[in-house]
Amino acid sequence: MSYLALSLTLIFVLIPLILSKTLNLGLEKDTFIATVRSIIQLLAVGYVLKFVFDSEHLIYIFLMIALMIGTATLNARKKGKSIDGITWKIAFTLLTVEVLTQGIILGFQIVPATAQYIIPISGMIIGNSMVLSILFLNRFTAEMSAHRDQVELILSLGGTPKQATHHQLISAIKASMIPTIESQKTIGLVQLPGMMSGQIIAGADPIQAVQFQLLIVFILLTTAAMSSIFLGFLSYPTLFNDRMQMLKEKF
């Protein structure tokens, strides 16, 4: 793509800006900031990736993954402020999901163990895991505060905190996984996934692009399940004390 063609893509930024101004949506500032940020962030990451790919040094790959996990953790933790140690719980979840998933991919030599594969796939794993964590925390905290009487009921009848939060945990895990599962049901029929589309546009064989996309689709399913379940089981005990009492300030 030429720089002229690239600059013409700004038309797609002008359209929402004009619509926002005309309809008084008040989104001009946010749209402008989002545009500037995406230009700077993507250009920066492009140069960083070029450097990492060229150097092929393991330490840079680890640094990139650490940066992704750190940023994703800081973003997701805002939704779980009522849960003690949420930062470390999210970081641990993202790291575990990344290690397990990459362990399978690289262990079975599904893709070559090079930065060119590891980093983009890690980005998708960690990004998806972050979104799942946010969806899970949002739903779990809402479920807990909406059903605190049921939690109290089960505790009062001699149930453990795990039994008392079982229903809320299952609801939140299911709700957070539904978007991933539903979007995969219509994949290829309604939307062509970004990675596959990118490969096809860049001139790759569509069948090759589909094969990689299938890998990503399956990875996203496993990251979705692992993220919400890990985070769920790390989170619920912090809502209770050692006498199995609800910590009121957490609900």
Binding site: D149, E152, L157, T160, M244
Partner: protein, 243 residues
């Protein structure tokens, strides 16, 4: 001379506070074993908080609670709550049928409730077997309270804490529940602590009564104290409720 009963629950200088707000202040006293003690007092007096402390749902911020002469903190919370059952004021139901709600205390112990057992517990609270497969969300307020009481009976606790269990019931149902409570108390010698706003009920059913105001116990004794209270505040409270 008044007979001295062994305490099922004893409170020793118990306080409960949230931040600077004192909900319970320096309460000392005993609930006699095998007897019905009613807790009366205006809203916000700390009655529910007191009950929740006895069930271990919350812990006192100062003082000690003894259950059967053992410090409450020495009990495993799960065992404590099965032994000291509590019917919550809001009578919350889990999603599902009346049977699933009745089975809940046993399900938490990985046990099952036989259908005949469930029918028997329903019968105890004046509901027939047709309720068994009804969805709990379709029950009226009174029916929910009855199912909640039946569910509390399933654990066969030695102590039962009842938080305004008849507040949403019609007169006929109130009478049924009162008779049931007296029957359980007589038959199984279960210790009962019953929060009620109905002073006639406290007089009729309770062996003993505690009057609470602003987190403090103002007057205690046999329930007939409500006929002739000694404390000025209690006198005014009783007159206010009776009028």
């Amino acid at each position: 001379m008044e007979k001295v009963y062994e305490p099922a629950i004893h409170l020793n200088h118990v306080d409960f506070q949230i931040g600077d707000s004192k909900i319970i202040q320096n309460i000392t006293g005993s609930f006699p074993k095998g007897k019905i003690t009613t807790l009366v007092g205006p809203s916000g007096a700390g009655k529910t908080t007191l009950l929740k402390m006895c069930n271990g749902l919350i812990s006192p911020t100062a003082g000690e609670i003894f259950i059967h002469n053992e410090l409450i903190s020495t009990y495993n919370p799960v065992d404590l709550r099965r032994n000291v059952g509590m019917a919550l004021q809001s009578a919350p139901m889990i999603k599902g049928t009346v049977y699933e709600n009745l089975e809940l205390p046993l399900k938490l112990q990985n046990k099952k409730l036989a259908e005949t057992g469930a029918i028997s517990y329903l019968g105890d609270v004046g509901l027939d077997r047709s309720f068994l497969n009804k969805n709990a969300v379709d029950l009226s307020g009174g029916q929910r309270q009855k199912v909640s009481i039946a569910r509390t009976l399933v654990n066969q606790s030695e102590i039962l804490l009842l938080d305004e269990i008849t507040s949403a019931l019609d007169r006929a149902s109130v009478k049924e529940i009162e008779e049931l409570i007296v029957k359980i108390n007589n038959k199984y010698n279960v210790t009962m602590i019953w929060i009620t706003h109905n002073l006639e009920q406290a007089l009729k059913i309770g062996h003993y009564t505690w009057v609470l105001m602003k987190g403090e116990v103002i007057e205690t004794g046999e329930s007939k104290l409500l006929e002739n209270p000694q404390n000025e505040l209690v006198k005014r409270f009783v007159q206010g409720v009776m009028e």
